[in-house]
Amino acid sequence: MENTISEFGKVFIFLALGVVLVVGGFITSRLLRPFRPNTEKMTTYECGEEPVGSSWVQFNIRFYVIALIFIIFDVEILFLFPWATIYKQLGTFALVEALIFIGILLVGLAYAWVKGDLEWVRPNPNVPQLPTKKFEKMPARPEASLLSLVESITPASASESSLPKV
């Protein structure tokens, strides 16, 4: 009992140290800083922009499905955790059992994947469509392409009799 607690005691030391550092930082800054609030200072910081509306917005329901899938695999990891500690002792049998365990769960993941639950919600921006078709045929440098056109025609057409007509 003492042994286990003292192992977790190390965790507790780190935990206490983290709490003390954060809380101590807040307390010292509270003691040192001047306290003169105004409405500009109290607004939410949004990279210099004026905050618009409330930050409480409704999230997409798809995040909830992903959170549910996360919890399932969270529990799966929990069952594999004791398995991992004795994996070397039991060898192939333990490996096969764990592979079956993961394999059954992968069926569920494959189902969610096929049904499109894992697909990310893409933004669908409304881009204004300009009538660009007429301009697409225009080359980037009109004078250059015209020169090459003339050069390609001239040597061949010089020998031909049809040139004077044009």
């Binding site: 507790f12 999230f59 549910l68 399932i72 639950d117």
Partner: protein, 177 residues
């Protein structure tokens, strides 16, 4: 000295549990309640450590703090009107509620003082070290079939959760159209 330090830390965690649980109930801001629950779960994990149940303590942190609470916060964020939500209940029923609370408290105290068989085995005869390895050996030898059935249960839970959440979304899109 050592046991005194253990006791002080135990009461610290007990105070954290009770205080944060009270915050969950009392707070009118639903986000504050959710974060109070974080500290409650965490303190309970510390109590599991004191009970020498290290695997359960880690389970508590991984599943409840890491999983259930994330789900809870997602649920809060998914609700539409968080700030306007009025968390006051209309029906209070103070007299029956108080009666039930006091009777449960009396039952617990009676069990605590007269009926419960507290462990009085000396410390050196109790369980030593980690229990993760015995659990692993048990799951791989005696309880292999339940271990595999658990994966089927988890898969069914995954399928059901994904199906229900998706069916909900279809209804929404139909309403949108």
């Amino acid at each position: 000295m050592n046991s005194l330090a253990y006791q002080i830390i135990f009461y610290l965690f007990a105070a954290i549990i009770v205080g944060s649980a009270a915050l969950v109930v009392i707070s009118k801001n639903i986000i504050h309640s959710a974060f109070g629950l974080l500290f409650t779960f965490f303190g309970v994990a510390a109590i599991y450590v004191y009970l020498n149940a290290d695997f359960i303590a880690v389970t508590q942190i991984v599943v409840y703090v890491g999983g259930i609470l994330v789900l809870l916060l997602f649920g809060v964020m998914l609700t539409n009107k968080i700030t306007q939500a009025d968390l006051k209940t209309e029906t209070l029923n103070p007299v029956p509620g108080l009666l039930i609370t006091l009777s449960v408290l009396a039952m617990l105290l009676y069990t605590f003082y007269f009926r419960a068989k507290w462990v009085t085995v000396p410390v050196d005869q109790q369980l030593r070290g980690t229990v993760v390895e015995p659990i692993g050996i048990a799951t791989m030898t005696t309880y292999v079939l339940p271990f595999e059935i658990v994966s089927i249960v988890l898969m069914v839970a995954l399928l059901g959760a994904a199906y229900i959440a998706r069916a909900d979304r279809k209804v929404q899109t139909k309403e949108g159209k």
